[in-house]
Symmetry: C2
Subunit: 139 residues, 2 copies
């Protein structure tokens, strides 16, 4: 009977997803703390390392966060010296976020984090790819 109960936690797909995501973020904490980054700041730094300069809106598209989350976080990152925030000359509505020298330098300290994270999971490379495919298809 229990396998048929649609409201049993163990029969949900959402819960392992929700739970696994939190657990992964929690495990990043150990590696990110020495760099002074939170997980959300870390994925934001990834797009900054790649693009150097982006509007708040564009960052939001890339990391799936809105200004309500990004604005206070980007202010903290500016206070930490990792990015600069300047209004665009061309369009005053846009706020351009640019990486600083200090932000660039942080990259070296982050380089080995993906490998460290990878080694603390029991997934094979193939399973990891499969998981990524399924997650992409889910949404």
């Amino acid at each position: 009977m229990t396998e048929l109960d649609p409201l049993k936690l163990e029969n949900q797909l959402c819960f392992p997803l929700y739970s696994a995501a939190k657990e992964v973020v929690r495990r990043y904490r150990t590696f990110l703390e020495p760099l002074g980054l939170t997980y959300t700041q870390y994925i934001t730094m990834m797009v900054m390392w790649e693009h150097k300069s982006l509007s708040v809106g564009r960052i939001g598209e890339l990391v799936n966060l809105d200004s309500g989350t990004l604005t206070p976080m980007l202010k903290k990152m500016e206070a930490a010296g990792l990015v600069k925030r300047c209004r665009s000359k061309a369009d005053e509505r846009e706020l351009i976020v640019s990486i600083t020298g200090k932000g660039e330098q942080l990259r070296a300290q982050a380089l080995d984090i993906p490998a460290k994270m990878g080694s603390c999971t029991s997934l094979t490379m193939e399973e990891a790819l499969q998981l990524r495919t399924l997650l992409a298809k889910l949404i």
Copy 2:
């Protein structure tokens, strides 16, 4: 080169996981709002519907949340009349959370939510099971 960059967002496994989890919770919102539940309250109600009466600690084990999150949320759920909170007679340290009649009644309104959620994803049943297996293995 970009496929080899360990710090590119698109090369991460964590990001689709983090993003998909948030998206799924967001989609629940539409269905849960009429019931006056948040997603976290919903998974808590699932364990209450199943177990009827549990300590805060046991709830935390089942839904992977600590008292810092649960205490304020359970107070709100009590204020909403869904559960009662009473100290255990046997061990005053324990706080026993019990489902109320109103909480039981809410179950009927929640019964079709899993099906509604299932139908707004593009995963086959087999893929969903595969995803659950991979998520379990990840942690």
